[in-house]
């Protein structure tokens, strides 16, 4: 593994590694399409969760602020996109205008949540953020009166897909003899975006800003005494995390074509947080792994649990959903026992565990 990604010690190996990963990423959607287009969609959703988890990682992993309402920013981004690109208000702005608006709006909400909670830590912050997440969802549910802003629980339908001139991301076309379905096009866009956001995460982590976040996470009093403006740095963490959530939400809106408050419940917040914690808080690659695992395993179960049970017992005894929660709980317990810092702990926590 190390040989393939260490650009300093093994330049050739590193480039070979990058090339292998690149080829795999390019070929993957066509391989998946071979199994079924559903799997490309599932992959896209998994990548969306990677984006979300990376955004939450800035807040929770880097700055150490426990946020249980993160899905609210995803909701804000999704609704901004839906309202500005659907028949609901008969607005059809192009996605490259709406996504930044969505990110900015989510960012604003991030600061709105951050500002009153600056003095809160740990459990107290978690409770307030949880409440915030619920408030957003309840607003979305009820803002259909007196002015129909969100269309309430019915949600918003017929949301525009991404379009770039005549290039429509939702349309199936054949380019260079290859069958590009809608999900495959979105897949490539998402992969590009995820690469950019991984780079931003890694660079932030190893910067003056990232160190200030680490300092706040370790000891806020000492951080302030060392001249770090903890207020601004915490707001920055909330704002950055929220923006990533907003962008992911916009893409979610466009790929689904339909959104309702149902998609932004507390369990989703908990899922994203679990991805961060399971993968390894603060470690970008750990978080990606966590997000992929928690996105794919349930889908794999959905397609395997039933046939396996029918083959074994002749009928289905336990619903896939039940097994999913069972395994999820088991995974978290095992993790706390054997890998408390996550599957791929951050360098920091790893050093800590090895006792070096």
């Amino acid at each position: 593994m190390q040989t393939f990604f260490d650009t300093k010690k093994h330049p050739l190996g590193a480039w070979l590694g990058v090339a292998l990963v690149a080829v795999a990423l390019v070929v993957l959607p066509f391989a998946l399409a071979g199994i079924g287009t559903a799997w490309v969609r599932i992959t896209n959703l998994a990548i969306l969760f990677v984006l979300l988890a990376l955004g939450l990682n800035i807040v929770v992993g880097f700055a150490g602020l426990l946020d249980l309402g993160y899905i609210a920013f995803y909701a804000v981004g999704a609704y901004v996109y839906a309202l500005l690109a659907s028949p609901h208000f008969d607005l059809h702005l192009p996605f490259w205008i709406i996504l930044p608006i969505g990110a900015a709006t989510a960012c604003l909400f991030g600061v709105l949540l951050g500002a009153p909670t600056l003095k809160l830590r740990g459990d107290y912050l978690a409770i307030v953020t949880l409440g915030f997440g619920e408030i957003i969802r309840i607003f979305l549910n009820n803002l259909s009166q007196p002015v129909n802003l969100t269309n309430g629980p019915q949600g918003i339908t017929l949301i525009d897909p991404f379009r770039l001139g005549s290039f429509d991301f939702a349309k199936r076309e054949t380019i260079a003899g290859l069958d590009f379905t809608g999900p495959i096009k979105y897949y490539y866009l998402l992969v590009l975006l995820v690469i950019v956001i991984i780079a931003i995460n890694l660079r932030l982590q190893n910067s003056r800003i990232g160190r200030a976040w680490e300092a706040i996470r370790e000891d806020e009093v000492a951080a302030r005494a060392m001249g770090i403006n903890t207020r601004n740095m915490k707001l920055l963490a909330f704002a950055m995390g929220a923006s990533f959530g907003g962008i992911s939400g916009g893409i979610f809106s466009a790929t689904q074509g339909f959104i309702s408050p149902e998609s932004f419940v507390l369990v989703e917040s908990v899922m994203v947080l679990s991805m961060v914690v399971l993968g390894g808080m603060g470690n970008v690659f750990g978080v990606i792994l966590g997000a992929l695992l928690l996105s794919f395993v349930p889908e794999v179960l959905r397609y395997t649990v039933e046939p396996v049970q029918r083959a074994l017992f002749g009928r289905m005894l336990i619903e896939p959903e039940v097994i999913r929660m069972l395994l999820f709980g088991l995974a978290l317990v095992l993790m706390m026992l054997y890998r408390p810092a996550g599957i791929l702990p951050s360098a920091l926590r790893k050093r800590e565990l090895e006792g070096k």
Binding site: R203, A212, E214, G227
Partner: protein, 267 residues
């Protein structure tokens, strides 16, 4: 700053602070001159650390004010005080425990560096140069306090004496004019204390004024120019180490009134 009339770096006037009915500080005033090592002593609970916390903006004073380097400190937050040039260490060491020694000192550079989010993401030439400068300076400071060999060790795995020294390096990284040390020799053995004394001398020689809270009287009396003595939140004496040592009020505070009287009678 002529020898005959030293310039005041920090002036405190009528500083008072109460917690409920406890007067932690009552009308405390003093002046610290440029280039001094100024001792702050007193029995446990005398208000030394409270004075530090008021000075560095962690608490706000009920009355009185500090003038630092010609400007008032009133109403400044701890990070603003640090930016103005006062850096401190903590009595119960507050390092960033899970970060390496080097990273701890690099964080100290935060207040004197400028890279913002855009710079951090784009990593332009200016940001990269600043990063290199931060790391270089951090290594120099580790060398300076004598923890260079443990640069990559997590702060919490350092020996106790090294943790104290690392805290000083981290404080120095903020380029303070006044370095406020809260019991730096606590828990140190004689050898470590002796080398700490050397370090304090070096820091003063290199132009940083020091405010020192310390219980190790041998260290205080040998290293400080002047000393302020607090007892029950009040200033009971101020002067050179020799003056303070002779002061009956100081002796009484440390040994108890009766013993002080006995000593007087014996003499």
């Amino acid at each position: 700053m002529s020898a005959s009339e030293p310039l005041a770096l920090l002036t405190a006037k009528g500083i008072s602070k109460s917690f409920g009915g406890v007067h932690a500080l009552a009308d405390v005033g003093f002046t610290i001159n440029h280039g001094e090592i100024y001792g702050l002593i007193g029995p446990n609970g005398a208000g030394k650390t409270s004075l530090f916390n008021v000075l560095t903006g962690i608490y706000s004073a009920d009355a009185g004010e500090f003038t630092f380097d010609g400007l008032p400190l009133a109403g400044l937050k701890p990070n603003e005080v640090a930016a103005r040039g006062i850096a401190r260490t903590f009595q119960n060491i507050r390092l960033f425990a899970n970060l390496s020694a080097l990273e701890n000192v690099m964080i100290g550079r935060h207040v004197r560096t400028h890279a913002n989010v855009i710079g951090a993401i784009l990593r332009d030439a200016k940001t990269r140069a600043e990063e290199r400068a931060i790391e270089k300076r951090a290594h120099e400071l580790l060398e300076y306090v004598g923890v260079a060999k443990r640069a990559n060790t997590l702060a919490k795995h350092l020996a106790y004496g090294d943790q104290r020294r690392l805290e000083i390096a981290r404080a120095l990284a903020t380029e303070p004019k006044l370095l406020a040390l809260d019991e730096p020799a606590a828990g140190m053995n004689a050898t470590e204390t002796a080398s700490l004394k050397g370090l304090l001398g070096d820091i003063r020689r290199d132009g940083t004024t020091i405010l020192l809270i310390e219980h190790d009287m041998k260290l205080v009396m040998s290293v400080c120019d002047r000393v302020l003595v607090l007892d029950y939140g009040r200033k009971i004496a101020e002067g050179t180490t020799a003056e303070v040592q002779r002061d009956p009020k100081v002796i009484a505070a440390y040994l108890g009134g009766d013993i002080a009287l006995d000593l007087k009678g014996a003499a």
